[in-house]
Symmetry: D2
Subunit: 354 residues, 4 copies
């Protein structure tokens, strides 16, 4: 059985395992203050073009927790950021298909905040939508009876693999800054997004538009781990406390440090992502050539296709896809997903069998 | 200025003030365990046709807090009930126009739960919608990644004054029982609902279909206060603790006891509601006669009408309405609201001036 | 049966009921924005010597909710303030006998915060204790693994009726300001405290030392209601939203406005408190004269006495006290409580029967 | 520099890395439903003598999530369990030195619950203490104004390395069952506890006395990971949902499965722990022989010793210890900690240098 089911079905890039092996019996202090984590964080800050200073633990208003933090998983990272940035009466504006609205078992609400879900096509929130939410709140006579919009959450790419253009992101960032709402970018698949041929924005440009974002490791070649980047110094306060409180401060923090250091050195992270995108786009082209109907314009590693049930049953004897939904009596939509680990021979075989 | 703005712009039914006066210097124990509160709770239970037993404070699983509780306000009551009935990963199914989704500043999310908002016309949730939410959850392969539907919230009447029929409520109750979800009815304006000529259900029938409901006092002639009725004994556990924790256990609990006792004795509550409904329906008839376009089919004390801005500006010199929204360049929607306190002469004057 | 059980066993000062009667059918807007509430809030601010400006509802950082807010009850007020002032990883330093630590069913923890309880005699926290908590946190190598002290809670008077001196309060305030922790004073019985002959501080002086405090109504002659005073403008942000979210925004907000206006005009509040203190001190003197052992040095309306069980059983046929705890095989501790409503003839009778 | 600072300063047992390497490119489904996780969970259940059935995902009351779950870290596991087991008004009884009370940045309070901290010597809670808390709650007239005890938390070994005897645990379990409170055992260092020569209880006996417990991986040879064992089927409900909500459901769940499978097969886990205990006890004996004063009677891998500052400064040039506290002007208390990774030559060198 060949898996095109998701991008987290194998272990990790072999370079990472080799480095874990090489460093295994070294003794370092815990909780992310080891040299590997420090080096990884400094490197990520540098790649993002933000200051690399790692924060000072001063008392209260002057406390700052550094610009990069290494966390275990995506739901944890999203909850942490939203919990850190919002006051109790505030909510987070998001696409209704957003991961925080659909697939985190209510983690955001559990930490006290409403997801102010907006209808979108392909999961992309527009600057105009954000402004509408803000203005309709601001001008409501019952303003205090309603959740105050407190931040904006987007994912790049979206849940269906779509990308925002630089222009769209610039507009979103501008409206957020105008109304003092932080813009948070969920980059669980950031590499697949930025390396897509269709992408017109760089990591550094993204970091300049976002207030907070994370660079996903779990789906992009790490065993696990996400790198939280707090681009706007205003939001760095208290983060080490909140990470510990949320259960996100790994005792052997160096494990994530070593992984991100390995991924970010020599561009490994970007190369793995670019390869997966190429594979996905060659599958996409083959599907189009053979007359399949695509369910999304995704230019990244996730391809959504509508497929006849007969054909699907035939393919299922050999391939594992992610079943999305029934389209009509005779057709279904499935997701075909490549990853850092997908082998070219499996891609070629699939293209042959389609 | 004559107010048709809402149903909480005066003090209370004079009978209540008289009784507060008569009992003012009596000494009673606090926190709702005084004789007035006990009598009011027993009377309400009897009117609802549920057992009047007041609960026993036994240890843990055997603890039961009685079938009726007297609380201060609606947001507090809704939050308490939802907090008491849901497990941390569960959400409450509600109409997207529901009070808990729109006008409680995220109180439900603040206590940890998602409002699973459903699009409706006129704020009425259907049994089919509830079943869809449940089934789409049950058959999702990622079931644990999503909020589990844990209860159903409806209001009677809805935010726009609409009523569920007995048939609709029976179907909702049946689907809730089939899937073991409690059905909770927000009755902030329950009297105006049940006394409307169009209503085809009684208090006792409602209590037999609901698991939990509340009978609103604040908008129906009390200074403040809501009577929570826990129809299904399964949900009575722990409530006294949770009421205290939520800040809802009034030290001088007898104040709400005396108010509900006064309202429920001699049918005062129902007479006041019936009068307000009659007034609202006469205004409605006048509006229709004069060619106004109504924005809702409401048969209760809230009437929503579309009105030309010129006419509205003229009326605003004399009357206070609740401005709802702009309809087009020259028209607005307003709410005209009668109450237990509305005077017939004001209604007649308004009808004349329309 | 004559009650000396607590200070919330009657209704309210007759002047309040008269004013509720006189204004009953007036139409005003809701949620505390009526003229009575505005006037009451301005008067309280003036008495406290803080600015009377009622806040502006500007967007986000510039929003300010005014310096005085009228809430329903004490647990609600404490939870609101602590929820408003703390970040998620912060706790509130309090005496271990503090109301928030013992008698609010975990309301503070329910809203997410640890009560950092300190052992005290008579419930009085010292500046040195507060400094110890702060310094032991600041110099701990595992600082982020521990709850950060975020504010200080004291009550004036304490749960056992004790008063802080002006010197003690000045020291507490100074340490709080040095470390930027807000000082919050629970004044559920503030009047009984300030009017005690032993008190050496005024309302205005208290307001200058506190960052936030509340002036209790429920136990001091109101039907219900507490006046929250936000002395330090820094903490006024967002409060209207948070009050609504907590279920604390009474629809007919004027009810509390009218009560506080009545209490604060013509010094009624202070006169009622002074009378209760006088009565309590005359009972105390009688107890001492008759050789009873007092369990607290309380100079306010609550007196704690150790009493032989035989004598207690005799008194219980005529009087209701609050039973505190068993002292030894033959003695118990009880609280004898006077209030705004206690009658001199009942005090005299009790003194006679002791 | 030789570290005796803690038991999480290296990577993991080489057998684990080898197995991660060997399985790295295998494709498995995510979220802990892969064959390695299933096998590890079944093996752990078997070792604990509880049923190995993995739960059924049925609707609501009938849902059960299996008896073993694999989580990432200790704070996360403790918060999850307490969140799952308590109702909103309940607290957890714990020693005041308990990890949840001191070193989790208020994670328990953040999820809404009070830690009902009890003073102890060496962190051991007694059955009598638990009964006192329960009875003083049960017989309080203000029962609903106070946090209800809802479960008991202990750690085995305690924070200072102490062990409960079988008799003590049997008594604790009996009192918990009498009052229907679940008993939860934090086993972050369970192996070091059970393998200590002084231990008189087995894993299987522990599992029979506990309702829920966890077997620590992070501090006992895994890269990370804790195995939650829900001994009492009553508490298995909803756990998969709650794990996902808490951010604890690792996408590549097999990573923890492979680690625990490796540790639990061939007794590797127990052998590593036994070795560390032996090393710690030989250091302890050397300390006693050389006249040092021990600060705890710990028979496990953590040794707490009082040491002259001069000597400490000398040792600090070569060794890293955990500094605990200043004892007097010339002495300090430090923790010397061995682990699965400690080398005999380092132990011998230390003994020589003491």
């Amino acid at each position: 059985m060949i898996h095109f089911h998701c991008d987290y079905q194998e272990g990790c890039a072999p370079e990472i395992l080799a480095r874990l092996q090489a460093t295994n019996m070294e003794q370092t202090i815990g909780y992310g203050q080891d040299p590997y984590s420090q080096e990884a964080k400094a490197l990520i800050a540098k790649l993002c073009g933000i200051d690399t200073e790692q924060g000072e633990r001063l008392w209260r208003e002057k406390d700052t927790a550094g610009s990069v933090h290494l966390l275990v998983g995506g739901t944890q990272t999203n909850t942490l950021v939203i919990n850190a940035l919002l006051r109790p009466h505030q909510g987070v504006i998001a696409a209704d298909s957003g991961h925080i609205n659909v697939h985190e078992t209510g983690a955001i609400e559990h930490c006290g905040h409403k997801v102010m879900a907006q209808a979108t096509s392909d999961g992309k929130l527009t600057a105009a939508q954000v402004q509408d939410v803000i203005l309709s709140h601001l001008y409501d006579p019952n303003i205090e009876h309603m959740v105050q919009p407190g931040m904006v959450y987007i994912s790049f790419p979206t849940e269906t693999g779509m990308l925002y253009t630089k222009q769209e992101l610039t507009a979103l960032s501008a409206i957020c800054r105008q109304y003092e709402l932080p813009l948070y970018i969920d980059g669980a698949r950031l590499g697949y997004g930025l390396m897509a041929p269709a992408a017109d924005i760089t990591l550094r440009e993204l970091a300049a538009l976002a207030d907070v974002m994370y660079i996903g490791g779990t789906k992009q070649g790490a065993l696990f781990g996400e790198a939280l980047v707090v681009c706007n110094p205003k939001y760095r306060k208290d983060l080490r406390y909140l990470i510990k409180q949320s259960g996100g401060m790994l005792a052997k923090g160096r494990l994530i440090g070593i992984q991100f250091l390995t991924l970010m050195q020599n561009d490994l992270y970007w190369q793995l992502a670019a390869k997966a995108d190429r594979q996905a786009l060659s599958i996409r082209q083959a599907l189009l050539d053979k007359g399949y109907r695509m369910a999304s314009e995704s230019p990244t590693n996730q391809q959504f296709v509508i497929i006849a049930d007969d054909k699907l049953n035939e393919l299922k004897t050999r391939y594992l896809f992610d079943y999305c939904e029934r389209v009509d009596e005779a057709h279904s939509m499935v997701r075909i997903c490549t990853s850092w680990a997908t082998r070219d021979e499996d891609v070629n075989q699939l293209i042959h069998d389609l």
